[in-house]
């Protein structure tokens, strides 16, 4: 199953330039060669800023109902109101918090756990590797959404459970990626030298191998972040995500949106647009980072 010819970045350059040294010039080069990626980075930055500054940016309390029901955009309510008279703009702004928190937390959780598994499997090799590979195969065989749904339903709707549920499908992807990196680096001369000198396994793993998987790791996180945000939105849409009164983009689209779509199309447009832009931004950024860090494409 792992025969896909996918451009998976492998930090295989023997010289292994430390990632940090080339950062400044790399940023400028990034801007020049990856216009799409820069746009993505800006979108992501906007998302983070919105989430952090939600209280400042919002014009109303996102949960406060009013008698201005289904009001059109304009005046007090920049994007209109929903069927309970709640300001849509403020709800969309605050919704970014849920998406970002759940997205980042679940991606990090999954990536770190998966990365550790991949590190151990790749480094140890042999039976451990085989076993973990099969385990990862199994986890990857179920559709992400089905897995997250079953978990969310099993554990119950809450913020913590949503994060756990979404992080699980990420683990096998992270494990596979890190394992591939590790396999390549493990064979390098200076690693063997370190072992020959008697450096302990753990130290080798942590000090020599891990830093060089940072590149692909970062790419993985940005790539998966978009997916996590989407899954959270879908879970909320189906009723299994974060419960009221926290405004969640996915849930905003489930209850009132379709019902009042003819009368108040803004209820359908804005939350969906918010999700799309957030995910679009992370995907663009992820793509660009991957292109940048993959040495095989570097020579173009």
């Amino acid at each position: 199953m792992a025969r896909v010819v996918e451009t998976v970045p492998v930090a295989a350059a023997p010289q292994a330039l430390p990632f940090e040294r080339a950062r400044r010039s790399a940023s400028l080069r990034f801007l020049r060669t990856q216009p799409l990626g820069t746009a993505g980075a800006l979108l992501v930055a906007a998302l983070v800023a919105t989430a952090l500054l939600a209280d400042v940016l919002a014009t109303h309390d996102p949960v406060r109902t009013s008698t201005h029901v289904l009001a059109a955009p304009g005046g007090d309510f920049w994007l209109g109101t929903d069927n309970l008279g709640r300001d849509l703009y403020s709800r969309v702004i605050h919704g970014s918090r849920i998406s970002l928190v759940v997205g980042i937390a679940s991606t990090l959780l999954g990536a770190v756990l998966g990365g550790l598994i991949g590190l151990v499997a790749g480094y140890a090799g042999g039976k451990t590797d085989l076993l973990s590979q099969r385990l990862m195969d199994i986890m990857q065989a179920l559709p992400i959404l089905v897995l997250a749904l079953v978990l969310a339903a099993s554990l119950g709707p809450s913020l913590t459970n949503a994060i756990i549920a979404i992080s699980i499908p990420i683990i096998p992807r992270a494990a596979r990626l890190i394992r591939a990196s590790v396999l390549a680096i493990r064979e390098l001369a200076y690693v063997e030298a370190a072992r020959a000198l008697g450096v302990r396994h753990a130290r080798v793993a942590l000090r020599h191998i891990l830093p060089n998987t940072m590149g692909p790791f970062i790419v993985l996180i940005t790539a998966q972040l978009g997916g996590s945000i989407l899954i959270e939105a879908t879970l909320s849409f189906l009723g299994f995500g974060v419960p009221e009164p926290y405004p969640s983009w996915g849930r905003m689209l489930s209850i009132a949106a379709a019902e009042y779509a003819e009368k108040a199309p803004w209820l359908v447009i804005w939350p969906g647009l918010a999700i799309s832009l957030a995910v679009f931004g992370t995907n663009l950024l992820g793509d660009a980072l991957r292109d940048t860090l993959d040495p095989r494409l570097r020579g173009r």
Binding site: M1, R3, V4, V5, E6, T7, L36, R134, L135, D137, I138, M139, Q140, A141, L142, P143, I144, L145, V146, L149, V150, L151, A153, S154, L155, G156, G226, L230, A233, T234, F237, L238, G239, F240, G250, L253, S254, A257, A258, A261, P265, V268, P271, G272, I275, S276, L277, V279, F280, N283, L284, D287
Partner: protein, 318 residues
Amino acid sequence: MRGYVAKRLLIALVTLVGMSMVIFVLMRLAPGNIVDIIFESAGYVDQADKKQLEHELGVDRPIPVQYARWMGELVSGDLGKSYRYDMRAWVIIKPRLPVTIELAVLALFFSILLGVPAGVVSAARQNKPIDYVLRVLSLAGLSMPSFWLAMIVILLFVRAVGWIPSITYVSPFVDLKANLWQFMVPALAVGYRSSALIMRITRSAMLEVMREDYIRTAQAKGQRPTSVVWRHALKNAGLPVITLIGIEFAFLIGGLVVTETVFNLPGVARYLVEAIQFRDYPVVQNLTMFIAVVVVLANLTVDLLYAWVDPRIKYGNA
């Protein structure tokens, strides 16, 4: 070749068994006793019924026995009982299967129809404007939540063409035109998103292949770009694409869950969501396993197809 097939079969089997264990454990993560849950969600009140339920569900036996019993039932094709509706699960699932299958097949068809040519064009005109446009379009497709896309599509189609989501399923054997009219829009909605993945993979596979020396040789020999692209590159890029379709399948099924819900299609995926909502846990367990089997079988088929097509495996000893 034979060795390869045997190895793949074994892996598929191991994966299935492993997945069954994972699903078994997942379902027991739910807080509370599964008997209590069923007891409540099916509306029982009498405590005497609880004993009956315990016996039916087999929770009075040790866990390995429960697992073995479940495996035995699955292997014999028994998908258990829906406690919510008080019917055999198979009776409810059976009429829903053709709906999901048709939607999946049509969606796959559209995703290939849209994705492969887009990927090829994008690779052939790498970094030209058309490449950027296609990449942005496909990425947009992957970024939009499927249910939002579905909602927008419904809104547009209802306004523009007077199309509405089906309210009951019409079999293609009964009325093909009506059936296609119902399925076209949802299949396109799912297909568009899947096509984005296919487009990306086709593009990168094509780029890989086009860098190969023999392509550059052909170009140097003066062969026109179009025939080079289509004849040599596509044939060899085809293999990874076929493989992807297998992996794709899992992604597709995820998309079906939402699509069936929004487009009101009475399929198996939507029933899974309903069963979860009703806490009909035995059905959830079996249906999830069912989906897992389908996915593994699809991957296995693709693997075998790959073996048959790739000469390195067919004749060598991979």
